[in-house]
């Protein structure tokens, strides 16, 4: 009985039901206080009497079936074919900061390929002392690092430039995930090949390329390549998923997701950027005057309230309410997050679940009281460089509406008296 009601999805119709339930909140609360005995307590339930599944019923476990609506979703009209497309992490339903691999967004240019570890080869060539080829096993023999980083697609929130469009944090902000990576620093591998041949490193580049049919390739300045880039083969403790580049992907902390090349097969040291398709015709930001910015690699500080939000309405009655969300910056650690309930007129500083870590998601909470009043809910991130997440109007003033990429504006959710929320823009 509780099964069926929990398994249902929060459809629009259900929001309304949820709203009705919220209205009846006072009654329900009364019941819980003991007017009528709760049969879930007074009657022996099946699970308290019979037995459950034995071990090994599911050798590799999936979430319990009541959570099946917590999953990646795509927006069909965005792209011509799912083979070259993107879907979205259900951030509205997650807590903490680590994204489980199984629901972390996917972005493919030529589909998720299947490659065995024994078929994996990584080549380093170009301006190096000795061009090298590594097998997967070779990579596992280099000193390893463990780091938590967010990966955000440059187009995250890109559909919102011209106005409030998609109704849900998953769709407006779900092109992001945050995982703990295990791998070898790119610097270590470059040094293994030797960089004397490259001469002065200041004007050198590293071109990285994937093994799939899209040949997705990006040019990374040597300075970044030697700083914190990882060649990763594990995420959240286990092998990368196929859709995230199994067996090996690049991790480029704080920089746009397109540079995190999956199925990494080649690293070339060059004396100029290749100017590949993904760094000229795409992932460049057109300003209002028609000029376009290129090499906008760093992801600006950004945040979003994940709950309450359109897919996560308030279903309980009046009283204590937890407002929560995520904040991140590609330039460093999150220092502070403020929350506004009145569309940006007044702000209060939220509690960070843990001190911000560089280029990783930070969870924030505002433990508050809600009594059915309308809210225009916003969050505003600040990072350690002093950058403050701008409003959409401030962003449009500089970037126009045709940027597609790098929309890090403050998001507004209109929370209504029935607890339902909607994506809106405010003056």
């Amino acid at each position: 009985m509780s099964d069926s009601s929990n398994a249902k999805s929060p459809s629009r119709r259900q929001f309304l039901t949820g709203a009705a339930a919220a209205g009846a909140g006072a009654v329900a609360a009364g019941a819980a206080r003991g007017a009528t005995a709760d049969p879930l307590i007074t009657e022996v339930q099946s699970w308290a009497s019979g037995t459950g599944e034995g071990v090994d019923a599911t050798p590799y476990g999936m979430p319990i079936r009541f959570e099946t609506d917590v999953r990646r979703r795509n927006v069909e009209w965005l792209t011509a074919d799912t083979i070259s497309s993107i879907n979205f992490t259900p951030i509205h339903a997650l807590d903490g900061t680590i994204t489980p691999q199984g629901c972390a967004f996917e972005r493919h240019h030529s589909g998720a390929i299947e490659m065995r570890k024994q078929d994996y080869r990584l080549m380093i060539n170009g301006l190096v002392d000795t061009p090298l080829v590594f097998t997967y096993e070779d990579l596992e023999r280099f000193p390893r690092e463990n780091r938590v980083y967010f990966c955000e697609c440059a187009a995250n929130t890109g559909m919102e430039w011209a106005g409030a469009q998609l109704n849900g944090a998953q769709f407006t902000h779900g092109m992001i995930h945050n995982m703990e990576y295990s791998g070898v620093s790119l610097r270590t591998l470059l040094e293994e090949a030797g960089l004397d041949a490259a001469g002065d490193l200041k004007d050198k580049w590293v071109y990285v390329e994937g093994a799939d049919a899209s040949s997705n390739g990006r040019s990374i300045p040597m300075e970044k390549a030697l700083d914190d880039v990882l060649v990763a083969f594990k995420a959240n403790g286990e092998a990368l998923r196929k859709e995230h580049g199994y067996p090996v992907r690049l991790v480029v902390p704080g920089w746009e997701g397109n540079m995190w090349v999956k199925w990494l097969r080649r690293i070339e040291v060059t004396d100029q950027p290749v100017q590949s398709r993904e760094e000229t015709s795409k992932y460049t930001d057109t300003l209002a005057n028609g000029t376009s910015r290129k090499w906008t690699w760093a992801m600006d500080a950004k945040s979003v309230v994940t709950s309450p939000s359109p897919q996560a309405p308030i279903k309980h009655g009046n009283g204590p309410l937890v407002i929560t969300g995520l904040a991140w910056s590609g330039r460093g650690a999150i220092k502070r997050v403020d929350v506004s309930k009145d569309g940006g007129t007044t702000w209060e500083t939220a509690r960070l679940a843990a001190p911000g870590e560089k280029m990783a998601l930070t969870r924030f909470y505002l433990d508050t009281e809600w009594n059915g009043e309308e809210m225009l809910l916003q969050s505003r991130a600040m990072d350690e460089t002093g950058y403050v997440q701008p409003t959409k109007a401030e962003l449009r003033d500089v970037r126009g509406e045709n940027s597609i990429y790098h929309n890090n504006c403050i998001q507004t959710w209109w929370v209504k008296p029935n607890g339902e929320a909607e994506n809106v823009e405010v003056s």
Binding site: A7, K8, S9, P63, R65, T68, V75, W77, A80, H109, I124, N125, T130, P131, L132, V133, T135, F142, A164, Q165, L166, G168, F171, E191, E192, G194, L195, D196, E209, A213, E223, L226, R266, E268, T270, Q275, R277, T280, S281, T286, G290, S292, R293, K294, D300, Q311, D342, G344, T345, T346, W347, T385, G386, V388, P390, N402, E422, E425, V426, S427
Partner: protein, 365 residues
């Protein structure tokens, strides 16, 4: 604040760049890459022509190649089909409300086009074009954008002479200066606005995909935990297996008699045009188009799990069977045969190609 930031960046840069090679301690892992291995993978082409192989191709040759390999998604005139990228047009639109970004209107370097066509196209059959074919296709894309005449021949020698209209249309990331005001010492906390009004609502637009439908949840639940519906699941897996067997057993005898291996081989070549959208044979899945395994002699519009156009689904319900004659008519001019078919393919112009591809399709029955 901004000065401080630059200081950090510069110091970090100096540290990473100088400390690098000096600290290098090699572990002796990996093996030297052989020259032929580097040659096989080191294909990228840079704006100054680095990486371009010898070769050439004309607009005329490109026109034919484009029709064969590219037009299915990009349109005969590079104008784009459905949601697939438009490669031509859009000149002077970059400052408009909805700019049209194409090779002609947006791409700053011709090398990018050559490199991308060579390594990433055709979609579903990448890395199969010879350098001369790539030169020809790129020449045709330039022609479609009115950037060269119809007698133009693109080659390694004249490659750098082609002027890309938007070559000066890009600036290097200037956020730290143009957006310096986003670095605020202390943002406003109270009385930050006089009034707040809702100016736009997502619900009005209504473009958000519907949340999970009950049916989908059920499917997911079955997939996640088949034990939930053990009886049904077993029945389901048995059924298609039996059907497959029957299908495989019957036409096989007839098949061997009528198949001409040379024609099938010819058809396999023609099928390259179909491959971007259709899969056939073991492990085939629905893509932009449905699976084609066993299509000859099969009912139209009924493959499970594929979303057909209304017309195709209706034709299937009305009993259309893909006999060789019907298929030939469809493949020759899809839109003439069925006006609203989702298949955006222009059609096979040569009768021989039609027969060959049907023979190839039949070889999977």
């Amino acid at each position: 604040m901004s000065k401080y930031r630059k200081l950090i960046v510069t110091t970090a840069l100096a540290a990473t760049l100088t400390a690098g090679p000096a600290l290098a301690e090699k572990l002796g892992l990996g093996r030297p890459a052989l020259p032929e291995e580097v040659a096989a993978w080191n294909l990228d082409v840079s704006p100054d022509g680095t990486g371009l192989p010898d070769g050439s191709g004309s607009v005329e040759e490109g026109d034919a190649l484009f029709a064969d390999y590219c037009a299915v998604c990009h349109g005969d005139f590079a104008e784009g089909v459905d949601n697939w990228p438009k490669l031509a047009g859009g000149a002077g639109t970059l400052a408009d409300k909805d700019p049209l970004k194409t090779v002609g209107s947006y791409w700053p370097y011709l090398s990018t086009t050559w490199d991308y066509v060579h390594r990433s196209m055709p979609f579903g059959n990448a890395q199969t074009l010879a350098p001369d074919e790539v030169y020809a296709i790129v020449a045709y894309i330039l022609y479609s954008n009115d950037l060269v005449e119809d007698d133009f021949v693109l080659s390694k020698d004249n490659f750098l002479d082609v002027e890309m209209p938007n070559k000066d249309g890009f600036i290097i990331d200037d956020r730290e200066s143009a957006e310096a005001h986003f670095w605020k010492d202390e943002p406003c906390m109270t009385d930050c606005k006089e009034t707040v009004e809702i100016t736009m609502q997502a619900a009005v637009l209504d473009v958000t995909p519907e949340e999970t439908k009950a049916r989908k949840v059920q499917e997911m639940m079955d997939a996640t935990n088949p034990a939930n519906k053990a009886g049904d699941a077993e029945a389901k897996t048995e059924e298609p297996a039996a059907a497959d067997e029957a299908a495989a057993a019957e036409p096989a005898a007839e098949e061997t008699a009528s198949v001409d291996p040379a024609l099938v081989a010819e058809g396999e070549k023609v099928f390259k045009k179909c491959k971007a959208c259709h899969q056939i044979g073991d492990g085939a899945k629905h893509r932009t188009g449905p699976i084609l395994t066993g299509i000859v002699g099969h009912g139209a519009g009924v493959a499970e799990g594929f979303k057909y156009s209304k017309d195709m689904a209706q034709a299937g319900q009305d009993g259309l069977i893909w006999t060789e004659e019907e298929l030939a008519a469809f493949l020759t001019k899809p839109k003439a045969y069925m006006k609203k078919t989702k298949m955006s393919f222009a059609g096979l112009k040569k009768e021989d190609d039609v027969q060959a591809v049907i023979a190839y399709l039949k070889s999977f029955n």
